[in-house]
Structure formats: C-alpha cells, structure tokens
Symmetry: C2
Subunit: 459 residues, 2 copies
C-alpha cells in the first residue's frame, strides 16, 4: 500500500506489521557489515523514518551504495523499533533508486550555516530546519484563512499593480513595459505609451481597496504580497513580503483590538497543535523556551494603554535610555521592550500622535492624536498595527491637504465617506514578522522561500 509518512504517524497502530510502500529521500545512511540504516523522509511529516536492511536482501550491496540525497521507493514492513526514541521502523524488503545524488551534493547530514543555505535556497527546504520553517509557514497561512472564513469574513484579493500610493510614503517599485533602452536613445519618457497609459507601481498595502469591500461585506481580509522598495539591509526587512489586512465595518478601535488579540491567539494555538514536532524542534535548537513563550501568549491578557501613558511610564522608569522618550514622539525598540516587560505580556498602545501616523486614521477630539494602535509582543516587538479610519469626509480631505497629498485619483476612497459610510477599522500584520515570532528564526530571509532584498533576486 502506497503511503505518505504523514499517514503512518496519524495511526501507527493501524499499520504495524503491514507492508507499506514509501517514496522519498535519503537524509542519512549508516552502513555496517551485515546491516544498514537509512534515515528517510518524504516531506509530508517532520520526523524521519528509519529504514533497516540486512544482508539477506539480494540487492544488499547495491543498497549499501545508495547516496545521501537520493530519491528512492521503499517496500517494507512496519515493525516496532528497539530504540525507545522512535515509535517504529521499516524492515526493508526492497528499495528502488528513483534518482541518484552525487557525493558533492551540497546538503550533507551536518550543520550548515544559514548564510550558506541561503545561497542554495532551492535545496534548503530539504534540511530539518527549513523543512520545519516552511511547513509552519503553510500551516499558519491555513490558520489565518480558517480563522477569518469561519467567522464570515470575505477574502479579498487586493490589486498588486496600482496607480495610487496608500501610505503616501514613496519607496515603490515601478512597473512598466516601456523599453528603457529606447528611452535612453530617444531622450524622453512617454507614459501614455506605457502599458496602463500612466505610471504604475507595486502596491505597498491593500488597505484602501479593502475598505471599499468592508463597506459592502462588513468583514473582509486580504492575504497577499506587498512590496517596498526600501533600501534597508536588516534582519527584519524584505522588499517582497506577505501581509494580512482585515477590515471591519461598524467596528471601532476597541473592536479592532478584540480581533487582533483573538486572531493572534487562534493562530498560535493552531500552530502549536498542528506543528507539534516542528515547534519542539525550534524550541530545542533555535529558541529555547519557545513553547513556553507561545503558550503564555495564547493564555495572556493583552494590556490596553495610550501612547501618552506609555511615555509617562518610560519617563518614570529608573533606566538610562539611549533615546529619551518624549510626549508626541515615536518610541524606540528599547521602549517597546521595556513596556512589554513592564506589563509582562502583550501591550496595545493606542492614540498615537497624529504626525507620526498615516493620513487615513481617525482624528481624536483632542486634535493631537489619532485612533491608532500598535501591538507590542514580548520577544517580537511591534507585530501588528491598526486604526479606526477617518469616516468624516471633510476631516479626511483637510488632513490630506495638510500633508500635501493629491486628492486627484483618490475620489473613490473619499466617496466611501459620502455613500453610506460608517465607523470602520482594520489592521495589518506582516506574515513574516509572525513567522519569526512563531519559529524563533531571526532573519526574515529565512522565513521566505525566495527572499528579495536589495541586490538579491535569485531563483
């Protein structure tokens, strides 16, 4: 019977004593005179399976020559393992070599540096570490879809190519079919000849478009790629990344925080339950205490506190700051860390100074702050950011003018405030930030299959 390793682990007893056929790859191969042991995986389950063969097999000598990395088809019987650390092993009856692997194969059963593995990114999911990382990526994505769909949210595909700039922040990639060499030759740029007959870019956020759908479906979420042409070479920046942007009509900032908290706890619990082996591996080899950290988060109460109150706490702290905390200003990483330690748990910081936040956020009656929120999580820093949206047409236009933003081309967004507008809120979560938190892997390049960073666009 053809099986995936995953099938067996679901019900080991059922298959005990049965003949099974498995297809996968050799991770390690230990040879003795009369026996051999192959550490075998097929990618459907984190744990390897041990294949045991002996010299009674007529192909014993050929099997002993099998290389690490080779693809094989194994027929064998599931038997109890004499070793306590594994539930079962496979007594081999037959092995067919499907695809050989030369001895200079870059992935050997030893510790490779993550830098080296980035260079062979197309092979790294075959290692234990990355096998675990990218399965968690997949399972966490499923958790997100389940969470929202089970609660009646509509999954909205925001456009990627856009002619508007959500954050007004610049740093966008241009998308064009103009021939650059021809521009160089002719000495002129004619956007009327470009594919969309105007300048177009890759989106930095699907939020503005998501708002249009929230005012039709009440509750929507995006989950798709976004892009920033930011020239930062840090562990937490990539230029192409995936974002989740839920948006809810008839929902204020408190309601927004309820969703943020509930969603995060759901995802964490889901991954703890559905990636048990992977999370245990990370806990052991990547971040000691990971399971405790995640379990604690899933059961913690999230504090809600204003930016102003945070500054007061920071100012009263018996601490020498690298950056002095100030009312009306942004806070630094050291402050974020202090605050989550102070409350011993996740903290929602609300009501931020309007000048350091985006134009679309709801202006508070004090004239100085906006109904924005950042979620600070112990060991992760800022994990999500959200806000109630300005629903007043006049206030929104006034704010855009203050910021020298052009209203042209944004009429559709502004009109949402004219045509049956209502209190609405949303937030954004960078999917890779979440994955860094869930796996303990620190570098964003190691949680994206093929990361794009300045100067790097391989594969």
């Amino acid at each position: 019977m053809h099986l995936d390793i995953r099938d067996i682990y679901k019900d080991v007893k059922k298959y005990m004593g049965q003949e099974v056929i498995l297809q996968g790859w050799i991770r390690n191969h230990r040879k003795q005179k009369e026996f051999g042991f192959i550490s075998f995986y097929d990618g459907t389950y984190f744990s390897n399976v041990q294949l045991v063969y002996d010299n009674k097999l007529k192909d014993f000598e050929q099997i002993q020559k099998l290389h690490i990395g080779s693809a094989i088809t194994v027929t064998g019987v599931l038997v109890e393992s004499p070793k306590s650390e594994q539930e079962f092993e496979i007594q081999v009856k037959d092995i067919i070599l499907e695809g050989d692997c030369p001895e200079d194969y870059p992935i050997q059963p030893k510790q490779h540096s993550r830098e080296f593995l980035r260079e062979v990114a197309y092979l790294r999911p075959r290692t234990n570490l990355f096998q675990a990382v990218f399965r968690v990526r997949s399972v966490a994505a499923k958790a997100i879809h389940d969470y929202f769909q089970d609660r009646g949210y509509v999954y909205f595909h925001a456009p990627l190519i856009t002619s508007s700039d959500c954050e007004g922040a610049g740093e966008m990639f241009q998308v064009t079919t103009l021939d650059l060499d021809r521009i160089a030759k002719s000495g002129k740029v004619d956007y009327s000849k470009d594919f969309f007959a105007k300048k177009a870019s890759l989106t930095v956020s699907g939020q503005l478009e998501a708002e249009t759908f929230a005012l039709a479906y009440k509750k929507v979420y995006t989950f798709g790629p976004t892009f920033r042409a930011e020239n930062s070479n840090t562990k937490t920046h990539a230029n192409e990344f995936w974002m989740i942007e839920p948006e809810m009509a008839f929902c204020d900032l408190d309601g927004d925080m309820n969703v943020m908290e509930d969603m995060l706890k759901y995802i964490v619990k889901y991954v703890l339950e559905n990636c048990k082996s992977e999370i245990e591996f990370f806990d052991k080899f990547v971040e000691n205490g990971l399971i405790e950290k995640l379990t604690k988060l899933a059961n913690s109460k999230f504090t809600r506190i204003t930016h102003e109150e945070v500054i007061t706490i920071l100012k009263n702290a018996d601490k020498k700051w690298e950056f002095e905390p100030n009312y009306g200003e942004d806070i630094a990483k050291e402050h974020e860390k202090y605050i989550t330690e102070y409350f011993d748990g996740p903290v929602f910081i609300t009501d931020w100074p309007k000048d350091i936040k985006a134009f679309y956020m709801k202006q508070n009656p004090d004239g100085k702050t906006v109904a924005a929120v950042d979620l600070e999580v112990p060991g992760a820093g800022e994990l999500m950011g959200g806000s109630q949206r300005e629903e007043d047409y006049q206030k929104l236009i006034a704010r855009m003018k203050e910021l020298n933003m052009s209203v042209e081309g944004m009429e559709w967004y502004l009109n949402l405030r004219k045509f049956g507008g209502c209190t609405h809120s949303g937030f954004g979560m960078g999917f890779e930030r979440l994955l860094i938190y869930l796996t303990g892997v620190e570098n964003i390049r190691d949680v994206i299959p093929y990361p794009r960073t300045p100067g790097n666009c391989d594969f």
Copy 2:
C-alpha cells in the same frame, strides 16, 4: 444582541421572537402612509432582510426619509413573515442613521450595466450580482486551501519579482527603481544601479520554484498572483490574475490528472454547498442551467484521450471547420467545444506535439510529443493545463538549447534533476477562469475586484 445576518440564517428558529441589533445598509426603501419597508443587507449573507416599521414609532418621519445606500443600526424583533418567499422579517423598534447617502448615489435599486459598474468598481460589490461574485471568489479560495491542506500539501509562496522567465515567452512587466527621466537625460541604462542590481520582472508562473519545493515536501501548491504584459483586450484576459499551481513528486501524468479531476470536483461541490443562494441567483439571472452544469460536472467521468486521437475524431467529424484540424498542431476553440460535446463531459487531452508546448515538459519516447495535458470542460474550454516534468538532465538541457534558451541562471532548476530527482508532475489553473465557470459571469473583468487590463489601472 448584536448579530450578523449570516448568524440568523444559520438558525432562524433560535432567534424567532428575539430582539436583535443589526448593522448594515439600505438596499431599497418602500414607503406607505402608515408603514415602511426597508430592504436591508449587511454583506454577511446573500439574502436581504426586510425591515418593517410603522407610524407608532416616534421617529417614523425621520425613518421615512432614510436614503438608499445609507448605513444604519437597527434594533428590532425577529418575526415570522406573512410573505411566503421570506422566512422572517424584522419588526423595527429603532433605527439609528450611521452614514447618510445622497440621492445621486450611483447604485440604485435597478439594473445597471456591467460596463457602468466597472467604472464604479469600488461600489459594485454592494450590488446583488457582485456581492455574489466576490463571495464565491472567497469561498472558492477557501475550498482550494482546504482541499490541499487536508491532503498534506504544503502551501508555497512563489516569489513575484523574478529574474527568470518560466515560459520563455516574454511579455513580462519590468520592475525597476531606476529613474526613467534620468535615463532619458543621461542617455544610458545601468542595471547595476537598479534595485536588484539586474533586470527584474513580475513572474508569469511560480511553477519552476514550486518544483524545488515539491522535491522537498512531495506535495505542494501555490496560490498567488501572476502577471502577463499581454496586450489582449478579450473577455478572458487580464494582466494580473491569481493562479493555483500544484506540484507533486513521485507523480506521473496519470497521477496529475487524478488530482486535477478530484480537486475540481471538490471545489465545485464545496461552492454548491456553501454558496447556495449565490449559485441559485446566478442560475436564475446570469446563466440558466448553471446548477445542472455544475452538478453534472461533479458527478461526471472525465475522458482521457491523446491529442492524436482528438485530431482523428475532428477529421472524421461531419463538420465544416473554420480552422482545419491537423496532426502536430494546436486545436482551436471550435475543436475544444466539439470534443467536450462529443464525449458529453470533461476531456483530458494528453501527449501534445512538443513544439507547441513548454521546454520543461517530459519528452515522450516517440520524440514528437510531450507528457502534457489540457483539461477541456464543457462550457469553459481549457480550464487547466499540466504536465509531467522532464526529469532527465541531459534531455532538458538539449531541449533548452534547441529552443535557444539560456542555461545561465537556471542551474538551480536543472540541478533538481541531479540531486535526488524523480518523476514529478504539476498543473496550473487560472483562478479567474474557474470563477467564470462557477458563476456564469462571462467577463474576467467582472470576477476580479480591481482588474488590470491594457490602459486600465484605476483604484
């Protein structure tokens, strides 16, 4: 108790006689002297809810003035409806106006042309038709994730910005941070100064990268945006669209077809079950016979036949063709239609002439054809295409050279054949093609929230 309309429809009996609070929008408003009827929706369920109010309410006169499109909060009691076509109605106690809507609101309770609605794409999900279309889009996406994840596939996020060209087909959008005006002035293009220090584009397919993950996880799928800078203004072409690209190791062309058939039937059944009201609406107003078409597909046997056999059938047909069918050549739309009618159901056409198919497809022993497959579906034409991949390193290189393709930069892809390679197969399905089939809506511009087509990049 605050409820979504969706909650009520899940269990009408439970809420009968209860006071509920609903928030949503006015779709229509009929006023009589002593009564009023508001057709109300909140986007969480396809059917409207009827709000009934009378002149015993102290706000009767204000309520009578409420405009179509306005956002409101309603408090009322769920009562049985005297009309047989609705299960219940709401006897209003109180209505609060959350957001007014002027009388020149573009969406009125009448038939709008789809062309007009494309111009106000940000409002069209508020209409019955598009409310249904984009919910089906969301639910079908969930069906796809459920299908693959429940079967142990890993969801793989392919990179969007790429320096390789999967199909060797050109027609890609260029992605750049070079200043075009400066290029015009300086008269030269220097890609070493571009963001990725080389020429980069938007991907046309994630398949090649998906193959690298299939050889680590056995079974993977992509579900993400892809781009073609094709200058076609047809009903079935958009320049930004979503694709599903599953890829399976240890899987041949027959196994590939098994997944294609099983997945499609699963999605169709899932949507029939979970979008009952929407599909009934499409059946009634968009495509008569839609439910029958979908039900038939879900229960049909898919024929498997070679391209050569298809040509023979076409040649023997008692029909005057616009395009004469020929061995070794592609087939036309009229042929696709004839073949699905001939077999009265979906048809897998396999073993295509290699010269009209992509370089990576497995070369058959005849030297003329490749192990490729197209799925032809009645009423949809070609819905998916797939192939077994060439796993022989030498044959793959030889084919690339024959096609004048550069091997440079593709070593990683070729190496998959060296390092534990194995039989593997996959396919691609355009998500919008599927949606056109599921909804009966004919134009791809009407199943994408914000479609991008030549000259169009609004919102």
